[in-house]
C-alpha cells in the first residue's frame, strides 16, 4: 500500500464561497467533533484515478449521506474508510485517513481490527448461507467477544433487536438466513454488523435491492442506530439522503463537490453542479 502523508493540515473551517471549480469542496466539510478525518485522499485503480483530493470529516454520531451520479466514486470513497479497497486488485489509496486520530493506512495497523471497529453493510443483502443465529454470532465469535454461550445468545438477541428483526425471527433463529425476505436479509446483515459493536457503520446503497416497504424499515432503523453509531451511507436515492442524513456530500466524477447540512443541500445547494444534480438535470 502506497501511503503518502500530507503534513500540512488544512484549516478546520473553510471559507466556503471562495473556492475555484474542481479544486476544493464547498460547504461544511469539517467538524470539531470528528470521528473520521480524510485529507487529500486520492484513490487509483491501476492507472485510473477514481477519487481526487477529497477532504472531509465525519462527525461522531452523525449520519452522512454520499450522493452523486453513477461512477462518481462515492462507493470507492466509502470503501476506503474500512480498507475494503485492499481486496481490489490494483487499488491504491494516497492521502491521510484517520479515525480518532489514528492513521488507518499505517503499515502497523491491522485491517482485522479496523473492520471490527468500522462495520459495513453492502448493496445486495449478503447473509452467510448459515443459520440466522450463526450469521449474527459470526463476528463476536471470530473476535472472541463472548466468553460464554449465554453471552453470545445475549449479543445475538440484542443485535437482532437493535436491527428490529428479533420479533420476526426469534422463533426460527436456527433456520437459514438466506430463507428470509430481501428486507429481512438486509436487516440481518445490519444486525450482523452491529453485533461486534462497531464505532462506525458504512452502508453502501443498503436499500437499492429492496422494495419501498423494506426500504422504509431500514431508513427507520438507520435513524435509531444513529443514536449509538456514526453512519456513512451511500445512496442513489436523493429522497433517502434527505430523510435519513444529517449532512450530505455530493460527489461528481471523483471529486467531492459539496458537503453541507442535508436540508441546505436539498433546498439551496451552494454549488451549481449539486443543484443541477438534485434538480434532475443529470444523474
Amino acid at each position: 500500500m502506497n501511503v503518502k502523508r500530507e503534513t500540512t493540515a488544512k484549516p478546520a473551517v473553510m471559507d466556503t464561497l471562495e473556492i475555484s471549480e474542481h479544486q476544493a469542496t464547498v460547504g461544511h466539510c469539517f467538524s470539531d467533533n470528528a470521528k473520521m478525518t480524510m485529507r487529500n485522499v486520492n484513490v487509483f485503480y491501476g492507472e485510473k484515478q477514481a477519487i481526487f483530493d477529497v477532504n472531509v470529516d465525519i462527525a461522531k454520531n452523525e449520519v452522512i449521506a454520499m450522493i452523486g451520479p453513477s461512477g462518481c466514486g462515492k462507493s470507492t470513497f466509502l470503501r476506503s474508510l474500512n480498507r475494503m479497497n485492499d481486496t481490489v486488485e490494483g487499488c491504491r489509496v494516497e492521502g491521510d485517513v484517520r479515525m480518532d486520530g489514528e492513521d488507518l493506512y499505517a503499515p502497523k495497523l491491522d485491517v482485522v481490527e479496523l473492520r471490527a471497529r468500522v462495520g459495513m453493510v453492502f448493496q445486495k443483502p449478503n447473509p452467510f448461507p448459515k443459520t440466522i443465529y450463526d450469521n449474527v454470532a459470526y463476528g463476536p465469535k471470530i473476535h472472541g467477544l463472548a466468553d460464554t454461550r449465554v453471552d453470545l445468545d445475549e449479543i445475538v438477541e440484542n443485535s437482532l433487536r437493535k436491527a428490529s428483526l428479533w420479533e420476526e425471527v426469534k422463533e426460527r433463529l436456527h433456520q437459514s438466513g438466506t430463507g428470509l425476505s430481501g428486507g429481512q436479509q438486509q436487516r440481518l446483515c445490519i444486525a450482523r454488523a452491529i453485533a461486534v459493536s462497531p464505532e462506525v457503520i458504512l452502508m453502501d446503497e443498503p436499500c437499492s435491492a429492496l422494495d419501498p416497504i423494506a426500504t422504509a424499515k431500514i431508513e427507520e432503523l438507520i435513524e435509531e442506530l444513529s443514536e449509538n453509531f456514526t453512519i456513512a451511507i451511500v445512496t442513489h436515492s436523493m429522497q433517502q439522503a434527505a430523510r435519513v442524513s444529517h449532512r450530505t456530500a455530493y460527489f461528481h466524477l471523483g471529486r467531492l463537490i459539496e458537503v453541507n447540512p442535508t436540508e441546505q443541500v436539498f433546498t439551496m445547494p451552494e454549488h451549481d453542479l449539486t443543484e443541477a444534480y438534485i434538480t434532475g438535470r443529470f444523474g
Binding site: E113, R115, A116, G119, F128, I142
Partner: protein, 426 residues
C-alpha cells in the same frame, strides 16, 4: 399503414423459417444423444453378453473318500506331511470310481483332465476346516477344468465347442449331465481369489484390493495437495506473470498423456527414491501426479463459483483472509471440490498405462495385504487377461470389465448425488 403490414408479413415469413431451423436443431440434438446412447448400449450388451457367463462355473459331483493312505498323511497338524501330501489323489480316486474300467494312460489323463488341478487343494481346505472328515466319505461338488467349463456352457447353449476336448471327455460330460452330476454354480472364486494361470481358479480379488489401496493413496495424496494449491492460487497468490505461468502449466499437465506420468514415476520414485516397484505406494504416487491437475482445476472452478459477496461479507466483518477461506469459501466450494475429486478418482481407477511403466503389470497371485505388497489393479488385470490365450479368459475379461464399470458408475453417480445433495443456493 401499408408499410407496417408488409413488415408483419415479413416477420411471419421469417418466423416459419426460424421455427424450421429450431426444429431441425432440436432433431440434430436428439439424434446425437440417441447415437451416444446407442454406443453405450452396444458396449454394455457386448460386455454383459460375453462376461455374464463368468459369474457361473461348472462343478462335478463326486464321492470323495478322505483315505489317509491315498493322500499320504496321518497327522493333519504335521506341516511336513501336509507339504508332501498328494491332495489331487482324492478327486482322481473319486473319478476312477465314477468311471470304472479306464486303464489306458491317455484315457486316464483325459479323465483327470475333467477337474481343475486345484481341486485337491479345495478338498484340503475342507479337510483342514473339519479334521474329523479324515477317513470319512463325503459327496462334494468339484471344480472342473476351464476347458470342460467352456465346453459345458457352449453345449448347454446349443453350440458345443469341443476343440480342446477328447471324444471320451465329451461322452463323460453327457453322462454326468444325464445323471445331474454336472451343473453350473455361482463362481465365488472369481470374487475371492487372486489371479491364476488356470482360468477356472482366477479371480479379481487381488486386482480389486490393489485398486482400492492404490486409489486410497491417490486420494490421500492428491486431495489435500490439490485443494491447498487451488485455494492458494485463487485466494492468496498475487496475480502476476508467475501465477499465469503456473496456471498454463497446470492446464498442460492435465493434457499430458498418462503414460508420460508413468515414465516420470519410474524415473523419480523408483530409480531415484528407490520406492519398490509394483506396489500401491508407487502406483498411488504416479496416479496422484496424474490426478492433481484435475483436482486443482475443478477446485479452482468451485472456489471461483463462490459469490464474491460472501467474501466481502466475511472480510467486512473483520475476518482474516484465512478465516474467510476456512469458514465461508471452503464449505461452499466443498461439493464442487468433492465432485472433482471423485471424477479424478474415477479417471485414476480406469488408468492402466502409467502403471505398466512402474511394474504394476506383474502376475501377482497373492491378494495384497498392505500398501507395500506387490499388487496390480483392475484395468491392468483386464489387460493381462485379454492378453491370455486360454478361451476361458475371454469371459473373465468381460466380467472384470463389468466389475470395473460398475465401480465407475457408482463413483460417478455418487458425484452427481453429492453435488445435488450439498448444493446450496444463495
Amino acid at each position: 399503414m401499408n408499410n407496417s403490414m408488409t413488415n408483419l408479413e415479413k416477420i411471419r415469413k421469417s418466423l416459419s423459417r426460424r421455427n424450421r431451423a429450431e426444429g431441425l436443431f432440436r432433431w440434430a440434438g436428439r439424434v446425437a444423444i440417441f447415437l451416444g446412447l446407442m454406443a453405450v448400449v452396444v458396449l454394455f450388451v457386448d460386455i454383459i453378453g460375453k462376461g455374464h457367463g463368468a459369474f457361473r462355473i461348472a462343478y462335478i459331483e463326486l464321492d470323495i473318500d478322505y483315505d489317509p493312505e491315498k493322500i499320504g498323511i496321518e497327522n493333519l497338524s504335521d506341516p511336513q506331511q501336509l507339504a508332501g501330501a498328494d491332495w489331487q489323489a482324492l478327486p482322481k480316486a473319486a473319478l476312477n470310481k465314477q468311471f470304472p474300467g479306464i486303464t489306458s494312460r491317455g484315457d486316464k489323463r483325459s479323465l483327470y483332465g475333467l477337474i481343475s488341478n486345484g481341486a485337491g487343494y479345495d478338498l484340503k481346505d475342507r479337510l483342514m476346516a473339519n479334521p474329523l472328515l479324515l477317513g470319512d466319505q463325503e459327496r462334494v461338488w468339484i471344480l472342473t477344468d476351464d476347458d470342460i467349463d467352456t465346453y459345458y456352457k457352449s453345449w448347454l447353449a446349443g453350440e458345443p465347442y469341443a476343440a480342446r476336448l477328447s471324444d471320451k471327455q465329451v461322452e463323460w460330460i453327457a453322462e454326468l449331465h444325464e445323471h445331474g452330476k454336472i451343473r453350473l454354480q455361482f463362481n465365488a472364486n472369481f470374487f475371492t481369489r487372486g489371479d491364476s494361470r488356470e482360468p477356472e481358479q482366477a479371480g479379481i480379488r487381488g486386482a480389486l484390493v490393489g485398486s482400492l489401496f492404490t486409489l486410497a493413496l491417490t486420494l490421500i495424496f492428491s486431495f489435500p495437495v490439490g485443494v491447498a494449491a487451488a485455494i492458494y492460487l485463487e485466494e492468496f497468490a498475487p496475480k502476476n506473470g508467475w501465477t499465469d505461468f503456473i496456471e498454463v502449466n497446470i492446464n498442460n499437465l492435465a493434457a499430458v498423456p498418462s503414460i508420460i506420468f508413468g515414465l516420470l514415476g519410474l524415473a523419480i520414485f523408483i530409480n531415484f527414491f528407490h520406492v519398490p516397484r509394483s506396489v500401491p505406494i508407487v502406483g498411488g504416487l504416479v496416479l496422484t501426479l496424474m490426478t492433481l491437475p484435475t483436482i486443482i482445476i475443478s477446485s479452482r472452478a468451485a472456489i471461483k463459483s463462490v459469490p464474491p459477496s460472501i467474501r466481502e461479507a466475511a472480510l467486512g466483518m473483520g475476518a482474516s483472509k484465512y478465516q474467510m477461506v476456512l469458514h465461508h469459501v471452503l464449505p461452499l466450494a466443498m461439493p464442487g471440490m468433492l465432485t472433482g475429486a471423485i471424477i479424478g478418482m474415477a479417471q485414476a481407477l480406469g488408468e492402466s498405462a502409467p502403471l505398466l511403466m512402474i511394474g504394476m503389470v506383474a502376475f501377482i497371485v497373492d491378494i495384497p495385504g498392505g500398501f507395500s505388497d506387490p499388487a496390480t489393479v483392475l484395468p491392468v488385470q483386464i489387460f493381462l487377461w485379454a492378453d491370455s490365450p486360454e478361451r476361458a479368459f475371454i469371459e473373465k475379461t468381460s466380467a472384470a470389465i463389468m466389475v470395473l464399470l460398475s465401480f465407475l458408475i457408482v463413483m460417478n453417480a455418487s458425484a452427481v448425488w453429492l453435488r445435488k445433495r450439498l448444493e446450496r443456493r444463495w
